[in-house]
Symmetry: C2
């Protein structure tokens, strides 16, 4: 068996071949399927862990393992180095996912995961939105109009027709440029300030990089009673995007309960005020229909299960399409008792 390595260009090849809309639909379907089947004995997702440092610059490197028992282990590593764009012209978030076969321990796929992370984060919001947002055409607002906003809006467009998109950002340029970045959707996109935005949308996505202690970013103003919020930005102790008053009015649904209590909007709530998690929403979808007309929040901190699902969907396409570099990583089995067997053959001992 060879290891398939999928770089950013390979992923672009896969997306181009499959079609971005179809790929998102497949990712949504695969995540729903994984959650519908979800059994903690079978899908095992330990808490993420990592190194946080301040030398040479502020940064972190985390690992997010996940296992589907009897089949696959995925380990995503994510680096966050905020000085990258300005100092080096590369993205601040760099991620890769390694996929292992649990029958053999072999590394099956190593995939660049920056795009995959953006996609799976959008997909998780789409799954929650499909269950909790009002039916029919929706106006979507984004507060924080960076990279995540693109996949949030795009993924939501796969579960609801969009009437329009409103965008607010601390950087006016970001809010203004979102229209170009979403032009492929054929939906009007308008930059507005957050105060005006909140009252005019049916679905709101918050995906800012507000610093811990500096939130919320959503003003506590009147909103539609059926507002559904995908709160994507909070992923760090002290970092929150939503006002407590909004959370108190809403059914708040975490992706991973323990992680949301530590790092998400759920930091602001007593534990017994937290609603069903994403798995429960999917498993008992009909039970939550009534919440399409009430205020709801999906507290999305990012789940390794989503990464496992995403890399498996992409890996299957890569294999089918013959995309990626195939590398002979592992040693041959010619003599399991001799680590020097290969060297011996080279040098003729």
């Amino acid at each position: 068996m060879q290891t398939r390595v999928l770089g950013a260009n390979d992923l672009a090849d896969i997306v181009t071949a499959v079609g971005l809309d179809r790929l998102l639909d497949e990712l949504i379907e695969a995540l729903v399927h994984a959650l519908d089947d979800h059994d903690e004995e079978v899908l095992v997702t330990p808490d993420r862990d990592g190194f946080h440092y301040e030398k040479p610059d502020l940064g972190l490197l985390e690992w997010m393992p996940s296992m589907e028992l009897g089949r696959a282990v995925a380990i995503k590593t994510v680096g966050y180095h905020p000085t990258n764009p300005v100092q080096r012209g590369i993205p601040s978030v760099l991620a890769s996912t390694a996929l292992y076969d649990t029958a053999t321990g072999e590394l099956v796929v190593l995939a660049e995961a920056t795009l995959l992370t953006a996609l799976r984060t959008g997909v998780a919001s789409a799954v929650a939105t499909d269950i909790l947002a009002r039916d029919g055409e929706v106006a979507v607002g984004v507060i924080g109009a960076g990279a995540q906003a693109v996949t949030q809006v795009h993924a939501i467009s796969r579960v609801r027709p969009l009437s329009r998109v409103l965008a607010a950002d601390a950087s006016a340029a970001n809010a203004e440029s979102l229209g170009e970045r979403l032009a492929f959707l054929g939906v009007p996109v308008e930059a507005v300030d957050a105060e005006r935005l909140v009252g005019q949308v049916d679905v709101l996505c918050t995906c800012t990089s507000v610093d811990p202690g500096q939130g919320p970013v959503v003003p506590d103003v009147e909103h539609r009673p059926w507002l559904h919020v995908n709160a994507v930005g909070a992923d760090f102790a002290g970092k929150v995007e939503l006002p407590r008053a909004l959370l108190d009015r809403a059914l708040v649904c975490p992706d991973v309960r323990s992680q949301c209590i530590a790092e998400g909007e759920c930091q602001q709530l007593p534990v017994d005020a937290i609603g069903p998690d994403l798995t429960q929403l999917v498993k008992h979808r009909a039970r939550y229909d009534v919440h399409r007309s009430t205020t709801t929040v999906f507290d999305s901190t990012g789940w390794s299960l989503e990464d496992l699902v995403a890399v498996e969907v992409v890996a299957a396409h890569a294999e089918r399409l013959g995309i990626g570099a195939l590398i002979d990583l592992r040693p041959d089995g010619s003599d399991p008792y001799d680590p020097y067997a290969l060297i011996r053959r080279r040098v003729g001992w």
Copy 2:
């Protein structure tokens, strides 16, 4: 920056170019240097963690992270799937190490790590042996004559001249074949039973795969008063190779104190009976000279720091020699706010 992928053949190329003896010497020097400098604020090595499962077969997949602050993070993943050799003709242990730059979060190197693991395990024993074993020519015994025995004996030959090697193994064929596998050393190798072996050696390496609860594998018989033991096999709760009586007579030095108490020979000892760890041995080498004439044990459970050192030495050679596949893994930085930038250019949106 491109990611360098080093498969088993690439590692054989590096070893062939550098020379196996010289590479071992460099690894020994690099590990001593890392330990001599060791500061827990700078070299951070969290406990390993992983998935253990019984489906589809018994196996485990573990990750071993390590960081040198301000420079590099290495994450080794190790799979152990004992049915591999018989059912699939591939090694039971498959490992790979990912090396990241902590300035950017980029994946710099992905290296096959089965050979590297065998080498670094030998190297750690060589470092301990150099400090604790008697001076001059030594007779080395191995109990468990599999893959680890090869690198144990070879690494020890870099710090002491060898008079002869004695080998015992539950499989007579393994014990008999070690001579061929070690022929390159030009030292007589003889298969004997463990009872006879123990009394005739100055340095003993235990590297068996005895099952938990089935040890010890070293008979409690008379041995030379200056015997130094490298106990390599114990790495699992309940798995031990040495008789308690031998440990009670010896200065027992763990590689990683907490891990040895959980998984190593130190399981058998009260905590206050455990001696200095490998870092202390290296930092205060002269203090332990007196133990060259006493019985000593290096309790080696395997340390992620050793993996970090090994992959860095090999990565530097790979870069110098231009060995390995260079892969464009990461996305370009053309528009950090648009995850679809690359796709957009492909499809001409």
